[in-house]
């Protein structure tokens, strides 16, 4: 049962990575990357590394996401002027 | 208690790091500059003392970083070779900073200058750590430090083009460190250790029993490719001219002279202390490096001939010189490796001399960069012209100068390896001719008076004078007293192999 769950998680990681690289808008890519980080957090917890899970949750999905979005705002990609 | 001198490697790294940490406290650049240059020279002095002591005793020692011995804690290890390298890093960093001072004032805004010196001293710390480290993961961490610091000193000269060059440099560097990282991760998975002596023991065991041979091959391949990308070996060199040619003078000197060498030193260390040179040779990796080294020598020079921007020309020449180093490594013999290390020293001193002098020449000519518009600059400032000429002649291979010695050693060591003898000799000859083809016209152009010359004589620059004299002395010294240095290099390589 855990194996199936793990397989699903890995699959969703791969899907997220592919979707982030093919998504039309930059904001979508960033949001998908944040989802990728969240899935990664669950995987760290499954791999018995709670330290990594906490760090990934705080950094990967949190601060890195904020930095990405701020950059998108600065490069005027939030309104979709550049990438649509 | 250990003998006092064994604390020197750690003290040097620590000194640089603390210096870097305290730099933001300075308001203006001048004092930060003085302190950083002082620290670099202190590193040079300490490391030189260490090198002399270790070379005299033929000694190698490990220094525990913490309370736990080998397989558990971090370690650094010093031998005559790494101590000499560290001394060179300190000296050249200090002299480049002195020589590029005027350019720093012109290129970097005053309030941001202390941050520039943060980067320089962290870079020096990282380079030393790369030379001394006895732990592959520490190697990775310091590679990342040197990557960020190197990119930052490129972009410190805040123009659009340097930032574009920086992002290219960063992307390529990230590729390289990604490959290096997966290499060491695989290595950890099959050996279970991170400290070089233990990893080496395990690698030998695996190699002899034939277990995990394919993963081991992959590891050597990944680590080699990763580090080669970072030190701009031929097919991965496209990023270099923009980054090195566009940065401020002292950055160019440090990047070309030292940063590229730091990665090669780590590679040589890994080959000797971890995989052993026999394994690397039987995996045919040295032969591949040999071919790419030769290609780099020729293509770098050809591209330098076509370049008219003086600093970019020097940057292309760096690609060719890196090719020489890999030619030596590619020979796969001890003599070849020693010649490669000698070339590291020679290029590490000569290229900063060229960059510093080129910086000064462009300064006296009103910040012109193209060789055509620089005509006559050497007449305005004869000393800078003489320094540039000396460096150029060393690169071309005039006897009694460092470059000649390096080429001679490479040729001599290729004599012992029959299948590689002729390609090596031919490549050396061809590349010497090519070097002459762009350095000689450049020198002649610099000494030819023209209408581009400034009317008033150049302002005096004592700092530049000091730096050029020091570096020029280094070039001549490397050309004249080759024997004792070679002995120490050989001893160091043998000590690296012995563990």
């Amino acid at each position: 049962m855990t194996t199936v769950f793990e397989l699903l998680l890995i699959l969703s990681l791969v899907v997220c990575a592919v979707a982030a690289s093919f998504s039309k808008r930059l904001l979508t890519a960033v949001v998908i990357y944040m989802a990728y980080s969240l899935v990664m957090t669950v995987i760290w917890a499954l791999l018995q590394s709670p330290d990594l899970a906490i760090t990934e949750a705080a950094v990967g999905a949190g601060v890195t996401g904020i930095l990405f979005v701020l950059t998108l705002k600065k490069i005027h990609a939030l309104k979709g002027t550049k990438d649509e | 208690m250990l003998p006092w001198y064994q604390n020197i490697p750690f003290a040097c790294i620590f000194l640089c790091m603390v210096n870097g940490i305290t730099m933001p406290l300075y308001r203006r650049g001048r004092r930060a500059f003085a302190v950083t240059a002082g620290v670099s020279f202190a590193v040079f002095a300490l490391s030189a003392v260490l090198a002399v002591i270790l070379a005299a005793g033929g000694e190698r020692f490990v220094y525990k970083m913490g309370h736990f011995p080998a397989p558990w804690g971090n370690e650094i290890a010093a031998d005559p070779l790494t101590a000499m390298l560290s001394a060179m890093f300190g000296l050249v960093t200090g002299l480049s900073l002195l020589g590029g001072r005027a350019a720093q004032e012109a290129d970097i805004l005053a309030p941001k200058q202390p941050y520039y010196f943060v980067m320089v001293s962290m870079l020096l710390a990282a380079l030393q750590a790369l030379a001394y480290t006895n732990d592959i993961f520490t190697g990775y961490v310091f590679i990342e430090i040197s990557t960020i610091a190197a990119c930052a000193i490129v972009m410190a000269r805040d123009t659009a083009r340097t930032i574009a060059a920086t992002i290219r440099y960063l992307v390529i560097s990230l590729l390289g460190s990604g490959l290096f990282l997966i290499g060491i991760v695989l290595l950890y998975c099959i050996t279970g250790h991170l400290l070089m002596p233990q990893v080496s023991e395990k690698v030998m065991e695996l190699w002899n029993t034939g277990r995990y041979t394919e993963p081991l091959t992959m590891v050597v391949g990944f680590i080699t490719v990763g580090l080669c990308i970072k030190c701009a070996l031929f097919p991965f060199h496209a990023w270099l001219p923009l980054a090195h040619g566009g940065a401020t003078t002292s950055s160019s000197a440090i990047l070309s002279g030292l940063v590229l060498k730091g990665y090669i030193v780590l590679l040589i260390k890994l080959y000797y202390s971890v995989f052993t040179i026999e394994v690397v040779r039987s995996l045919k990796i040295t032969s591949v490096l040999f071919v790419f080294g030769i290609a780099g020598m020729l293509i770098g020079s050809v591209q330098a001939i076509r370049e008219e921007h003086i600093k970019r020309m020097l940057a292309y020449s760096s690609i060719a010189q890196i090719g020489y180093v890999f030619l030596g490594i590619g020979l796969g013999t001890e003599a070849g490796m020693a010649a490669a290390v000698y070339q590291i020293f020679v290029h590490g001193v000569t290229k900063p001399l060229l960059f510093v002098c080129a910086g000064r020449l462009t300064e006296v000519q009103g910040h012109e960069k193209s060789l055509y518009r620089l005509r006559g600059a050497a007449v305005t400032d004869p000393l800078a012209g003489a320094g540039f000429t000396l460096g150029a002649l060393s690169m071309v291979g005039l006897p009694l100068l460092g470059g000649f010695m390096a080429k001679w050693l490479l040729a001599a060591s290729s004599l012992a390896t029959l299948p590689k003898l002729w390609p090596a000799l031919l490549a050396l000859a061809a590349s010497s001719v090519l070097n002459a083809l762009y350095y000689v016209p450049a020198v002649i152009a610099l000494w030819t008076p023209s209408g581009f010359m400034a009317e008033k004589p150049a302002k005096k620059a004592p700092l530049f004078l000091l730096s050029a004299l020091g570096l020029a002395a280094g070039v001549i010294l490397l050309g004249v007293c080759c024997a004792p240095l070679m002995e120490a290099i050989m001893a160091g390589l043998r000590l690296l192999e012995a563990i």
């Binding site: - | 250990l2 064994q6 970083m65 250790h193």
Partner: protein
């Protein structure tokens, strides 16, 4: 013909590359390029660039696929996933676990490992963070190099919004949530040696709290208690404390001296010697760094 060669040679020796065949002047290069473009049609350089781009893409794909395939092949040779007898699971791990509590005083073996056994790596890691925030400072701190009028207008507009159009609901919620976040961050930092977490994750949480505060009350509100001077002071002090305590431990360790710092009872907050101090330092640095990133990215000042 011969005469021309001879003259070219003389000119070359005279250092007059302007008339040489390998013209070195920018003007000459431009002329040559224009001539070549005329000869081969206007789009010559564009086409070459396109061809190069295609070659680059194809070779990149080939290289990448070959790397992935060899890696996939290699994986099956590696120790089985989850196996207890993998080479990585050796005497080093045994020592970290069996003697870890006794030697480092940390109940969390990972913390014990990164802050005591392999502390040099971690010192390097915090330097990476310091370097990153310093380079972001160089890049984004507003000065005459990176100002554009549009950007200035935008920033002024944002400051105006911050001052005049404050969102009451958001502020009330943040006023309740923010202390909890900070408290949780402090908890994670202080319990780094007892439970999962530590300086880095706790610092990132606290940094996140500060960012939330900055985003809802405005960066000006944060600047009242956290400006560039406090930022520099806190990071420098924390990193120096870190460096000093690590230097002390490295120096005594290598020279075979005792540190003389009691490890305390494992599991208590005040235990495990220097690890707690290091965690607090790292936490402080990371908090400042994360908020610094935010402020610089959003407004270009601290």
């Amino acid at each position: 013909m011969k005469n021309e060669w001879f003259r070219a040679l003389v000119r070359w020796i005279d250092g007059e590359p302007a008339h040489d065949r390998r013209i070195r002047t920018p003007e000459g290069q431009r002329v040559r390029r224009a001539r070549r473009a005329q000869r081969t049609g206007e789009q010559f350089s564009d086409q070459a660039a396109k061809r190069f781009a295609w070659g680059y893409r194809i070779s990149a794909v080939v290289i990448c696929l070959s790397i992935v395939c060899t890696l996939l092949y290699t994986v099956f040779q590696l120790p089985l996933f989850g196996a207890a007898d993998s080479p990585a699971n050796n005497e080093v791990v045994e020592r970290y676990i069996e003697k870890g509590v006794e030697e480092t005083g940390a109940v969390n073996f990972v913390t014990g490992m990164i802050l005591d056994y392999r502390a040099f790596d971690t010192f390097g890691e915090s330097s990476v963070l310091f370097l990153a925030v310093t380079s972001v400072l160089i890049l984004l701190l507003r000065d005459k190099n990176n100002i554009s009028e549009e950007e200035d207008l935008l920033t002024a507009h944002e400051f105006f919004i911050e001052r005049e159009m404050q969102d009451l609901i958001l502020q009330k919620v943040v006023a309740v949530v923010m202390p909890c976040i900070l408290l949780f961050g402090i908890y994670v930092v202080l319990n780094g040696h007892i439970s999962p977490g530590g300086g880095f994750s706790g610092g990132a949480i606290m940094g996140g709290g500060l960012i939330l505060y900055g985003a809802s009350f405005g960066i000006l509100a944060v600047r009242r208690f956290f400006n560039r001077r406090t930022f520099t002071a806190i990071t420098t002090a924390a990193l120096l404390t870190y460096a000093a305590s690590k230097a002390y431990s490295f120096f005594t360790g290598a020279n075979g001296l005792e540190t003389g710092i009691p490890l305390g009872t494992p599991g208590a907050i005040l235990s495990s010697g220097l690890i707690l101090v290091l965690d607090i330092c790292v936490g402080a640095v990371v908090t400042c760094t994360m908020y610094g990133f935010y402020a610089l990215f959003a407004r270009g000042r601290l």
